[in-house]
Amino acid sequence: MRNTGARLSGILLFCCAASVLRAAEPPWVAALSKITVPPQPASTSAVVLTDETVLSVAPSGEVTTQYRRAVKVLTPAGRQHAYGAASYDDNTRLRGLRGWSIAPGGKIQALRGRAAAEMSAGDYEVYTDARVKVLDLPSEVGGIIAYEYELREKPYEASTIWRFQESIPVLSTRLEARLPEGWTHEAQWIHATPVSERAGPVWLLTDIPAIPDEPRMPEAASVGGRLGVHWIAPGGTAARSWKDVATWYGGLASSRLAATPPMQTATRTLAAGSDPIRALARFAQRDIRYVAVEIGIGGYQPHAAGEVFTNRYGDCKDKATLLKSMLQSIGVESYYVIVSTTRGMVEPAFASVSSFNHVITAIRISKESAKGLHAVVEHPKLGTLLLFDPTSSNTPFGHLPSYLQASRGLLVTPDGGELIELPAQKPEASELRRVARLTLDPDGTLHGAIQEVRTGGLASVMRGALQSMSGAERIHLIDESLASHLARQTASGVTIENLDDPDADLVIKYELSAPGYATRVASMILIRPRVVGTKAEKTIVMAERKLDYVTEGPSLHTDDVEIVLPPGMMLDELPKPVTVSNPMVQYASSSAFEKGVLRYKRRYTMQTHVVGLASLPALNDAFAKIAADERASAVFK
């Protein structure tokens, strides 16, 4: 599905020959030099002086957008904001793109749109008609860049999401709508304190702080302030509801569901086994290659199921459509669920299709068959629904990718639809079980077998990393990982089981040799019983932390290490057992020495996807204790 909000990401700014405009600059540009920037934090590299959007809505629903923006560069790093960009596609007319660069001394240089570089706005599609024009505006510290353009389009829905908070402070921003006679509107503030609107309507905001840039923060787009507005034509009943959005999408997609004879034949064959739903889901997930072709309404509307089946490729909505059609052929009901891959983007109080960028499937199953499946929701009318993402090729059947858990999706049903909560899976659904059976030689070399078993989301992530590697690169990855824990090491006999089978456990086995593992200090021999693996995450600097913390998701990790020591080694001291327990993390480790064998066991559980700001000190404390346990050594003589 097309995600217009992400079109500018990753775009390289190319220099191009300036096409200098000789006409006098407009008054709004001439006035920019007079704006005084109030004192900013030292880390502020640039500020938005003004950002203005004027929407003129025609009775036909066509919208003309006039956009103006000016940025003042405060530091050399602020030059990255010195460009003008306009996104458009085949259904959008872009006019009047031009920009200005104002030197600190006030000299103004103008560039016309012909100086802009044009690029495809897509980075994952085989083809998209979405394009972007970028004006690379000369800038220096203390200087100002400004640009403006006009867009004319007929949007798919009569609503606007105005994202007014950015990665740099905004001194002034304004949204104005010019509506035809009789039109009304309804506004919804998201992550922001409501501001009174003026006649027009016009919304004016000033002195908006930057969205903080913090490690492991939620996606900036999901925490930034925004205003959603529905434009309501005369006779329109009310603002659009989620049911309206679902109905629109259902209508768009329903014509694409017809099954072709070859599809029906294949469906019968695939469904002949004991678990037809799983077989069809796996076909859509594994045998249909992800290929996105998005042109016009194709950003939302799927290709026909038969076409997807024949080509054996399609994007997320194509895969969901094919699966829905095949399930329908065997009498199993399923539904589209429109979702965002960014948690927090969907605001229940404001219904809009532009909140989403992805489509998955909800399959109606019996309560009994839901046993052992994790991505299950109970719907009051539809009963038990299994959520399945056929685009995520490594996510096991019965699971949801981590980025979709604890989020919201729009369930599209025959009578409309509704927003539903996507479940967070339990830690036990995503495990890493490490077992090490090792021997310490008298010269201090540690050697033996290590087995790592990953399930659920942890297996999915590791599969994704390994599949794109050659055999040699996979071994290098293991070597690099071991080197983070061991000064000297070699992994040999590496085997990887079930790499391409997402429904099976991913098993990695290798033989470890680590010369000099035991450290002799005076009469003592130090042995770290943990050997490999890290659970503690990086310490969160709390001084200026403002946002929640995003974890890798719920998971359960266990280590079971046995080290057979050389005869005659006498235990002096063992590391103390460590226990950590709070609502986010539980951790317990213990060491024992018996009959010449040093044993270390630990169990680490991460319970949540997101840790709230107030709980971060406790999380830091937990990680510090875990890190200390990971460094601790046993002493022998």
Binding site: N311, G471, E473, V521
Partner: protein, 639 residues
């Protein structure tokens, strides 16, 4: 694959008719039983796909190129090779186009899925006169075990000569490549050259009647490795290009250096124009004069390092000095002009920077020598200077302009001299790190002073060139944080020399090292080599394909003073350690004085390249260094 690159525009359009077409070897053909049963490639285990056959027919006489690919898919990951993107330059003067696209998928059972989908025309980049587009399409019915076949032709304006680049090594193995090129007959008006890099022994393009042919089998995948030479040194590729004149290969460098010399002489102009300025720089002897001129040149604004500079190139050296600015080579030439005006024997030196290529005199490509230095001879000794690199200390070239080939450009038609520029010594890139720490519970707290000399100072200055103080401070703090355990606090308190060119860079920090202290029952373990205690062996992989390549020799000197609490004492001091492998050496020692422990560590790398046959010894050496640096000081409570 063709590199769409405008080499030269012929003054007269060719009269040759367009005869585009595919060769018989580019025809689609059924899969053999062996191909259908293939599960992988022996010499590339784990490969997701392989190119079974790549046939490229390039015809410069008729301005077209035809390519055929036959790709076997081994795993789901390899299905991505069914998405094809063929870039081309559509605008004037190339007016390129892609024609004759056809494709099909051969299923593992031999059935054929023809490609009848849409071919899209995508804008990759369009600005000014540049029009870069791509034809994109996706093959249907692809599954693990499929064989993909596709072919297309690329055409361009008849009156253009376009260079050819065959990138032999891909991210998947190439089992057979058959490449041919029919050059344009320039009738002696222009020359053309073939260059080869890293082709297997005995594999060279062979001239047959009117075209060159190159056939290769079992081409390995390029493997990227840490601390390896630049990729351009290592990958297999073939270039064919035309030049603007009729110079033959064995006369190439003589002719090219003569061209450069003429251009330099023209830019420097009459040294007399700078005589008055030069007088003001005259010192008590030639060396002092040279230092004065160099300092002035370093004071020029270097436009090559300015953001988005649109300043025009200067006409001559006098203009550079008059305006106080120039691009990097203009500054080198302006420096040489001023040095000559001051009575010094100065020359411009054309250099092959080794961060990009490994110079070969046998390759007639002027692009190899893409940088400039200055050489000034004082009392019979040549000093190489790098005025074109901002903040380069006197006598220190940026590392890529050391230990590489260079031409000292002669004056007035004399032959230029090919020289090998000296390598740096470890002392020319010295880092001193001094920590004064005290044990406070579970943390180490105190101050750290780091002094970067020579090349190391230059690297830090260039890293932050153009940054403001806040960004520069952050860069130094971020670097220091990489030395210490996660969770440590590092605050820069003073920074000197970051904007100068002739003094070391000195950074002082206040630090609190968290997660550094650990326990062994009732004992406390403290790192002594605090700057390296969390470092990992840079050569973790057990195997190595390419040479190990250190950009330049260097020397690290660490000193750590650790003050213990009065109640604690070391169980024992670690014994001194000395390690070496060839030109790489390491030594440390610890001393105790009262409740202060002082740890000293010196590590020297005095090598550039190390053959992979010595990799195991090198890896063992580094693993021992890592092990020694991680050896803790064991503290016990005093009785």
């Amino acid at each position: 694959m063709r590199r769409l690159f405008l080499a030269a525009t012929l003054s007269v359009a060719t009269a040759t008719p367009l005869l585009a077409g595919f060769s018989k070897q580019q025809d689609f053909r059924p899969a053999t039983a062996a191909e259908r049963e293939m599960k992988g490639v022996d010499y590339a285990p784990g490969a997701s796909a392989a190119i079974l056959d790549w046939v490229e027919v390039d015809d410069d006489a008729d301005s077209f190129s035809a390519e055929y690919y036959r790709v076997k898919i081994f795993s789901d990951e390899g299905k991505k090779y069914a998405d094809v993107e063929v870039p081309y330059v559509s605008g004037y003067p190339v007016n390129g186009r892609i024609t004759g696209v056809s494709a099909r998928t051969i299923q593992p059972d031999g059935t054929i899925v023809p490609f009848d989908g849409k071919i899209y025309d995508k804008v990759l980049y369009r600005a000014g006169g540049i029009r870069l587009r791509a034809k994109t399409f996706s093959l249907a019915g692809v599954q693990s075990g499929s064989i993909l076949e596709y072919r297309y032709q690329r055409e361009w304006s008849e009156n253009l000569l376009i260079n050819t680049l065959w990138t032999i090594q891909r991210e998947i193995p190439v089992l057979r490549a058959k490449l041919s090129l029919k050059p344009y007959n320039t009738r002696g008006e222009y020359s053309s050259y073939f260059t080869y890099f890293n082709l297997p022994d005995g594999s060279l393009p062979v001239f047959k009647r009117d075209h060159y042919e190159l056939e290769l089998t079992n081409v390995p995948v390029y493997t990227a490795e840490e601390l390896a030479p630049p990729e351009e040194w290592l990958t297999s590729r073939v270039n064919f290009y035309y030049t603007n004149d009729a110079v033959k290969g064995d006369q190439f460098w003589a002719a090219q250096t003569a061209r450069w010399s003429k251009a330099v002489d023209g830019f420097i102009g009459n040294p007399g124009a700078l005589t008055q300025d030069a007088k003001a720089m005259t010192g008590k002897d030639a060396m002092e004069t040279l230092r004065n001129v160099y300092a002035k040149a370093q004071g020029l604004k270097n436009l090559s390092y300015e953001n988005q500079s649109t300043a025009k190139e200067k006409k001559n050296a006098a203009e550079v000095w008059a305006k106080g600015e120039g691009y990097r080579d203009e500054i080198v030439r302006a420096f040489v002009a001023m040095a000559r005006a001051a009575g010094l024997d100065a020359s411009v030196v054309r250099v092959a920077p080794r961060d990009r290529i490994h110079f070969s005199k046998e390759i007639p490509d002027a692009e190899q020598m893409s940088s400039e230095l200055a050489s000034v001879t004082v009392e019979g000794k040549a000093t190489y200077l790098d005025p074109g690199t901002p903040s380069a200390p006197f006598g220190v070239q940026s590392w890529e302009k050391t230990a590489t080939s260079a031409y000292v450009l002669a004056r007035r038609g004399e032959p230029s001299q090919l020289v090998m520029l000296q390598n740096l010594r470890p002392e020319d890139a010295r880092t001193q790190r001094v920590a004064d720490l005290r044990l406070n519970g579970e943390t180490l707290e105190g101050s750290v002073t780091v002094t970067f000399h020579g090349q190391e100072a230059l690297r830090r200055r260039l890293r932050s060139w153009g940054d403001d103080d806040a960004a520069r401070a952050k860069a130094f703090e971020d670097e220091a944080k990489t030395w210490f355990p996660d969770g440590s606090t590092v605050k820069l308190t003073k920074l000197t020399g970051a904007a100068a060119h002739d003094e070391p860079v000195v950074a002082k920090f206040d630090v609190v090292l968290a997660n550094a202290v650990s326990s062994a029952g009732s004992r406390t373990l403290v790192p002594l080599s605090v700057f390296e205690a969390t470092a990992k062996n840079p050569f973790a992989p057990a195997t190595r394909v390419h040479h190990v390549y250190f950009p330049f020799p260097r020397r690290e000197e660490d000193e750590v003073k650790l003050t213990l609490t009065p109640t604690m004492a070391p169980a024992a001091l670690p014994a001194p350690v000395k390690l070496n492998v060839g030109p790489l050496t390491y030594e440390n020692e610890s001393r105790q004085s009262g409740n202060e422990i002082t740890f000293k560590r010196v590590m020297v790398v005095d090598a550039l390249g190390i053959d992979p046959k010595f990799y195991e010894a090198l890896r063992t050496y580094y693993s021992r260094v890592t092990s020694v640096d991680q050896t803790p000081l064991v503290l016990v409570e005093k009785p």
